[in-house]
Amino acid sequence: MKTENQKAWFFVLPVLLLVAFNALIPMMTVVNYSVQETFGDNLFFWEGLTWFEQILRSDRFHAALGRQFMFTALILIIEIPLGIAIALSMPRKGFWVPVCLVLMALPMLIPWNVVGAMWNIFALPDIGLMGYFLNHVLGINYDMTQDPVAAWVTIITMDVWHWTSLVVLLAYAGLVSIPDAYYQAAKIDGASNWSVFRFIQLPKMKNVLTIAILLRFMDSFNIYTEPFVLTGGGPGNSTTLLSIDLVKIALGQFDLGPAAAMSLIYFAITLLVSWLFYTLMTKDDLN
């Protein structure tokens, strides 16, 4: 049992100050911009909720948001089952375990713009390994700078390459925590592989999978650098995800008001969906 101790606040004070400095001040700046209009020279005019209304009604925002949800949904549908499948087929002990884990974690430690640049080089139609293979060996006409479908396939493959290991490592951590006795009992009962998975492995992985889904949702919903370096949002606007569009508005057109309003709406959506995921997935524990 935890004891009640208000002095514990002194322990969390440094964390609170540092994070508040980084989170609250910039957030207030964003809120400030979102209700004003500026024409430069530090002159600001009160605009009220105009920008919020404008963003919520704009087709451009709806399109970017739609693409963002499609991207996140696709990578979750691919990465979560794939990650579980790979974790299930990994060895439980022995020499190969750390080797597998280190190699699998490697993509996550590469700076995000290098990931984008790397996949760009990899996908070049005539001189990249993947581009050459698809075009000249399989005979598929593949060029992600021209074809939106190819661009989408490339950014989805890149994200699967980059982040499936996170799901693998989490699911694997859940799996190795299952005592052998559980499996022996299942064997005596004559349980099939499926029922072992459904009634022993899956429930044991539930906690870590909740973390995996939440982290993957948050990070993929906020993704910016990798697709920006890889496709630059093109061809046309076909891979312009929410963050990319936001940066275009804020730094490209320097429309600070609309960009700030869009940031806040964006943040609110992320919070809301994360909260929904979290409550749905931990609902059983509370009952």
Partner: protein, 265 residues
């Protein structure tokens, strides 16, 4: 058993392909890269690496990156340790709300904060220093470190604390001499994660620096646009950015699975 191990092997093969391509390209001459497809470097060259190790704008990029990542890791762990202890051992007013608020900071897209961060750090007067980037990265690394450490500390029985206090240890001595060594695996894992997220982040690092503290990844983007498209050089610089991560991951290899589960299995 044989058939089962095929899945991880295929998966690792898929993971290594783009990395292989990057490394292979770094050893090719620009001519060879642009003239057509070749699976292995035909004329093996170290020219690109030589450029990087002799040109200060290149190698300072690496030093800058490693400096701010290290500062960030030290700050994050130092402040997260007592906070995680408080969360794992005590109830206090607003503890749950505070914990949740910390985690929400991971949800804010960095793109949202780029411009306000620039203004904030310019106003404070530390724009274009390593400290600025290190402090900015605390935004997402401190919550993560608190989360991981709290998970590991939750696994340490409270009796350890109580016995130490009965034995006459003062709190600071107990914390440094007994408690931290007990959870050193957790500290290692948390440090690894701070290093990793600070190392891979670029948007904020690029926004907060100009010349003095410019990260290597930003040097790469500038070169790509100004000096034409020198793919070999770009590939060599990219290859070199993989190495620090690979070294760090080697040290935590035995804790990595539990570490990714934030100690909550």
């Amino acid at each position: 058993m044989q058939k089962r191990s095929l899945v991880p092997i295929l998966y690792i093969f898929f993971l290594m392909l783009p990395i292989y391509w990057l490394v292979a390209m770094s050893f090719k001459t620009t001519n060879e890269i642009l003239s057509g497809f070749s699976l292995f470097p035909q004329t093996f060259t170290l020219e690109a690496y030589k450029t990087i190790f002799t040109d200060p704008t290149w190698y300072w990029g690496y030093i800058n990156s490693i400096l701010y990542v290290s500062i960030n890791t030290v700050i994050s762990i130092a402040v997260a340790l007592p906070a995680a202890y408080a969360f794992s051992r005590y109830r206090f007013l607003g503890d749950k709300q505070l914990f949740f608020w910390l985690l929400t900071n991971r949800m804010a897209p960095a793109a949202v904060f780029a411009l306000p961060f620039f203004q904030l750090y310019s106003a404070v007067g530390i724009f274009d220093t390593h400290l600025a980037v290190a402090l900015a990265h605390c935004l997402f690394n401190i919550p993560l470190a608190v989360w991981i450490l709290e998970g590991f500390m939750g696994g340490v029985p409270k009796e350890l604390d109580e016995t130490a206090f009965v034995d006459g240890y003062s709190f600071p001595r107990f914390f440094v001499a007994i408690f931290i060594p007990t959870i050193k695996a957790g500290v290692g894992v948390a440090a690894f994660f701070c290093f990793m997220f600070s190392w891979v982040e670029l948007l904020l690092a690029k926004t907060l620096t100009a010349v003095e503290a410019k990260p290597i990844a930003a040097t790469m983007t500038k070169t790509a646009s100004s000096a034409g498209y020198e793919l070999g050089l770009l590939a060599a610089a990219g290859t070199l950015t993989i190495i620090p991560g690979a070294i760090v991951i080697y040290f935590v290899r035995n804790y990595i699975a539990k570490g990714f589960a934030m100690g909550r299995v």
